[in-house]
Symmetry: C2
Subunit: 416 residues, 2 copies
């Protein structure tokens, strides 16, 4: 027997997505809810008020992760269920918010039905701080601190482009906590939008993630010499922006010419002094390389670095590698995956196993506990964009799978 | 007979350059005195206190140009002598400040000797607002408003990268004036550093500018589509930063392959949303093309625009030309030029006629009155850089030429 999902629950999910979507809304239909911003605070307050309405025991930890514990049972530890409320500057209404809204509605459904079942685990709803890594790099900050993969001190010192730290930003919006993150979690689950075109292409409603791609993330700094753009003689010019631009162009040429090349993205640039009349003396590029295999990220990354160091293209500039991190490919929990496939089968929902190219909090958590990540389709495969859209029917399908998955995990019967 | 320049005057010039150089000083030995900044205000106050010490009649006009009139005589109008106190973010201590400091010391020398001569013109010392165009684009703002080439309203509305207008910035530092710019000026002169290697290469102490290069200045906006850098499929990507980088690389290739190509510089870029995880949807580039001939700027600029519009390099992006201005090549006053050559000859100073590649306030003024521009060498041809340096002996040579030039212009005898 499973808890019933009513039409009112479905309406509640869509309404919650709408409510989060108006916080930090942009005129083009997207959202801008950067971590630590007033909009982030407003979304957090909405989450917190929903937790209170659920009767959850609330904790805010020192990196701003929000937890709401539903006291279902403590025999077998607790299950974490959540996602994130921060967004990209050009974010959509579903990335992160869907997982939070579905967790809230699922908790409501499970609570309403809990008298019928003997749950042996607590359910803990979570909002993880700075998943996006847009304002503060790197991403997955809150979940990485929780998983012990980043120290609290490192995380609080992350600095945005204006020199503000994550710690000060959280403090300013009232979300630098002094509470304790749960220590009894035995598994985690996250419902998220796919952000790529694979489910849509296969005409399948649910993606059950079994692994992630690896990623190599680098920051390269090209160093030239400032001088007047006019009278400075050609032989005297050390143009860092030109060296950086040549590198961007050549790196993409290399990717196009390489068999089974990783996905290469260079999306962020900082140029100094960035004045029309002064040849750039310092240009930084953030380079992302993604592939299902770590080794491919490493090999291709090394080739990209050699390109950056090519003297001919540097034109008298120097280049330094300021960051170079390899995010490993991760395997998600096979048992949680199996459970999700069974639920889809029983509900008659089409599904496929797939890898995630994007990073998610569930990947950070998977380093310390069994973690499960469930995708629903993104129209056109577009996300991080005002055009991001998950159809209501797909969001509701995701909710149904999540409710049943949590139900079985909270019961923790031998059969499952 | 000419006014005597004493060792004390020479020391005063070097000391004034030093005094201006500590205002907005950067740790690397340069200065950052952006127009409308607190450092700009501080430099303006020093200029103003020097004008007061000279007994000059001070005016501050509505675009913040500072004028100090020495009441030598009014029979034949007035002579403008000045430069600018704003700098690039990576500015040096001589660009602009030399011309202001030399004007102050020259005024002191002329005043001290004026009882011996019957001057028939007033001398007006000037500090022109926002010559650099670093924080507020375009450059030569104050002198262009004075010359009627830009309206006051346009100038006050120029906006920096943070959305602040020049009008508000000047008001905030107390330099939005209500005074009247002089209407009786009959000629202008400016002493400035060369900013290129030509004088040093020719081993000549003074450059007497007879013309300027033309410049074409464009702002191109590449438009892509925001989406996730990870799972977004290759065929879906519209990467504005990649299109812009390919353009920068190709435009420089074109310049290298072109006979007698203009000087091409692309020094400023704005990229949105500039987040490591979001493919750029809007990347702006500021393109500068300089050549002695306007026609060469036009022809090469058109070829550059065609490159920007090349579909293959755009990779699905669009491009729009948001600004496209042609700054004409200007001829400076032949009479003022002749006067300077005579003075150099009499003083035994080596000199050459030359063009200026860079823009200067004297060029804006030359559109409404005879204008003269005198250069002294920059070590290594470097400027807009903390490494900018004019040797003390060269600065003093510039002062001597300026004093005699002003002396003859103030006398306005038939012989000259």
């Amino acid at each position: 027997m499973f808890p019933e999902v009513t039409a009112a629950d479905e309406a509640a999910l869509l309404e919650l997505i709408f409510e989060f979507g108006v916080i930090g809304a942009t005129p083009d239909g997207g959202v801008c809810r950067l971590a630590g911003s007033p909009a982030d605070a407003k979304a957090r307050r909405l989450f917190s008020s929903e937790l209170k309405a659920l009767g959850a025991a609330i904790e805010l930890d020192p990196i701003g992760n929000q937890f709401g514990r539903m006291l279902f049972g403590t025999e077998r530890g607790a299950i974490l269920c959540g996602s994130h409320l921060d967004s990209q500057p050009t974010g959509g209404r579903f990335d992160g918010a869907l997982g939070i809204a579905a967790a809230i509605v699922a908790a409501r459904i499970l609570a309403r039905n809990s008298y019928k079942f003997r749950y042996r685990r607590d359910l803990i709803l979570c909002n993880w701080t700075n998943e996006e890594g847009a304002r503060f790099t790197p991403s997955l900050t809150g979940s990485s601190v929780f998983a012990g993969r980043m120290t609290l001190d490192q995380a609080l010192r992350l600095t945005d482009a204006n020199g503000e730290t994550l710690g000060r930003a959280l403090s300013a919006i009232g979300y630098l906590g002094s509470g304790t993150a749960p220590k009894d979690a035995v598994a985690a689950v996250e419902l998220h939008i796919e952000q790529g075109p694979e489910l849509e292409g296969a005409d399948v409603r649910v993606g059950i993630v079994d692994r992630s791609w690896a990623a190599r993330k680098m920051c390269l700094c090209f160093k030239g010499q400032p001088s007047h753009t006019g009278p400075t003689a050609k032989y005297q010019r050390r143009d860092a922006l030109l060296a950086a631009a040549r590198f961007v162009s050549l790196a993409h040429d290399l990717a196009e010419a390489t068999h089974d090349a990783p996905v290469l993205s260079i999306a962020r640039i900082e140029n100094a002094p960035n004045s029309t009349n002064v040849i750039a003396f310092e240009t930084r590029l953030w380079v992302e390389i993604r592939h299902s295999q770590e080794s491919a990220c490493e090999t291709f990354g090394d080739r990209v670095l050699r390109l950056a160091e090519d003297e001919q293209n540097l034109g008298g500039c120097q280049v330094a590698t300021e960051q170079d991190q390899l995010r490993p490919a991760v395997r998600l929990d096979p048992e949680g995956h199996r459970l999700a496939t069974e639920i889809c089968g029983r509900l008659g929902i089409s599904w496929k196993s797939m890898a995630t190219v994007a990073g998610h909090d569930a990947l950070a958590l998977s380093q310390v506990m069994p973690s499960t990540l469930i995708f629903v389709p993104s129209v056109g495969g577009i996300s991080h964009s005002p055009k991001e859209l998950t159809k209501p029917s797909d969001a509701l399908t995701g909710l149904r799978v999540l409710v049943d998955w949590l139900h079985l995990r909270l019961l923790d019967e031998a059969a499952h």
